[in-house]
């Protein structure tokens, strides 16, 4: 194997960081680290999430940005493990099959629960789940399988309850999974996107991005098993998928937030390069810089 030694990149990561426009919404004075006082006049404020009181002073317990809501001061973390919210679309991995429920890893603090009652089974929504279904649970979903689900409920201890009571949710079969830090995912109305390049992508709120030839359409046969036939994906589609996956990784490496527009912009602008070039530092740093500039320009035009 040959080793390639390159010079320093033309656009260093630090140049990316100093793009003041890109982060102008973050006031530098408002960034706090744990143990740092949040405000100058503690008597006038109430302490909110991410703060505690030490010697009559409001002090941050998190590393993040100070937010103020009237008289309430709170600290919102910039980087954190996924904490679920109701309605989030997540891509999860089944880790355990228990009685009447599956345990799923959603890269959250605790494993999420997917109750047997919350999955789509033959017979429609009103069908009662009986003992037979319980016995067949590991036929529906086995350990290690990927699913796409929605957060139905957040319990008081932080455990997420998932459901897949919709055709668009369910087992994921053929595709590429890319893990990104969850803070890079931008929440939007849609997280299922069919891209105009002949493939689709699911941007899970928990930081799992699923690149797939087609969105899952769970159809359930009368005998209860999920019908899914492995298809041979044509080579051009596969190449597109790999390019999209490379784009997601590029956005992750330069901490550009991931949503439909940034992904398609990245894809369009990466066209002049080979896919393997996208992982090289020189190309990727230049590309990231240009993408950020383009996205900012679009944002300003909208305003």
């Amino acid at each position: 194997m040959s080793i390639e030694i390159s010079g320093p990149p033309l656009v260093s990561p630090w140049m990316m960081l100093t793009m003041s426009d890109a982060r102008n919404d973050i006031d530098k004075d408002k960034i706090v680290i744990p143990g740092q006082a949040v405000c100058d006049a503690p008597q006038q404020f109430m302490r909110g999430h991410g703060t505690y009181i030490r010697d009559g002073e409001i002090v941050s317990s998190l590393s993040g940005v100070v937010q103020q809501l009237n008289r309430l001061l709170m600290v919102k973390t910039i980087k954190q493990r996924y904490a679920g919210e109701v309605g989030d679309v997540v891509v999860a991995r089944v880790v355990e099959v228990q009685a009447k429920r599956w345990k799923c890893d959603v890269s959250s603090r605790l494993h999420a629960n997917l109750p047997l009652g919350s999955v789509l089974l033959p017979g429609g929504d009103f069908r009662r789940k009986d003992v037979e279904d319980e016995e067949k649970m590991s036929e529906f979903l086995k350990n290690g399988e990927l699913i796409c689900a929605e957060v139905q409920q957040v319990q008081h201890d932080g455990t997420l309850m998932l459901h897949t009571r919709n055709n668009k949710y369910g087992k994921l079969q053929q595709g590429i999974l890319i893990k990104v830090p969850p803070h890079l995912i931008k929440k939007s109305k849609k997280h299922f996107h069919t891209l105009p390049y002949g493939m689709a992508v699911i941007i899970g709120c928990n930081g799992n991005v699923w690149v797939t030839p087609a969105l899952p359409e769970t159809t359930v046969e009368e005998d209860g098993s999920h019908v899914h036939e492995f298809q041979i994906v044509p080579q051009d589609i596969r190449l597109v998928m790999i390019r999209v996956a490379a784009c997601v990784r590029l956005l992750r490496d330069y901490s550009i937030s991931i949503f439909l527009n940034s992904l398609t912009t990245c894809y369009e602008m990466s066209q002049p390069y080979d896919i393997k070039e996208l992982s090289e530092q020189e190309t990727s740093s230049r590309l990231a810089y240009l993408i950020t500039a383009r996205l900012l320009q679009e944002l300003q035009q909208q305003k």
Binding site: I33, P34, R54, Q80, R109, Y254, I256, S257, T292
Partner: protein, 372 residues
Amino acid sequence: MNSIQNIQQVLNLQIRLFIPRFQLREFLTVYNTLSERCFNACARDYTTSTLTKDEGSCVSQCIDKQMLVNRRFMLVFAEQAPKALFKQGEQSPTEAIKSAKPEQTPASQTTETPTTMSIISEHGFRIDGRRPAQIRNINTRLGLNRNAEGSCYLEHGNTKVLCAVYGPYEGKASKRLEDRCAIVCQYSTTTFSGLERKNRPRGDRKSTEISRLLEKAFESVILTESFPRSQIDIFCEVIQGDGSNLAACVNATSLALADAGIPMKGIASAATCGIVDAKPIVDLTSREETDLLPRVTVSGFSSIILLLHSKFQLATICGRDEVILVELQNRLHIDHLSVVMDAAKATCADVYECLAVVAQQHLKACAPILGH
């Protein structure tokens, strides 16, 4: 038969020719090794062209010691070699040397001077040229490990530490606590980190002790109650150990935790402090930590590692410093305790300033572009 005799003659000739050359080479090797060792051990003040008083005495003592060792070695060799080569009844040549030896050794002992190398030189500098209360350069990089929630690479001079924080996640059921999160720490050193190559990078008594110390320290820093039934893993690896390893690990871990966005009371900072001639020295290197250097201190060489977190940022809460971990190695006179504590606290404050700047810079860099 003729040919065999010829070969023997040739061999004899060769041995006769080679032995002087061999001896010369042997002598040169011994001489070079000796001068290099003594130079490395003693010479350390490069500001003057001549040897200082300390260095001079050290060199002479070093040479004496090396020569004694050599002599002793030769004696043993001379005694053992004939036994192996000749029959036992024959007289070995060591008897004569042995009889001469007891006369000489007391003489050499009396000439030995009691002066030894001090850790602080006569000009007030330490071995690496620092002042007693000066810390080494701190160099950090955060967020290197993509798979970990938070990670940090930290250098204190030549001490290099890599730290990764995973979690909080749903860990093993055996470690699960119902009211707070469990903190599991693993301290390891690379096999090439120290002066001697190690076979076990982790799991030995010392590593286990340091792991437990780190766990206990960070249990009091992290707000564990906010993550019931979860687990946080902390991995610290010393890539190069040049003293103050534990302190470097604490500093690296607190930065990694800040990077991971885990709620804490504050950023912990740590410092090592020792005492020589009733004077504190901070941020010890491995040479200052080891017993290799001779010391004149009566109380012995002690080092305190103490950590305090969240140094005050505002002048109003000046003096508010909370100690989360104290480790004392060797013995320390009680009168020196307050001196060492004060020096270590002051150093912790210095280190905290460095860490706070790094953490804040990194946070800004972490924020996603076009996030909101």
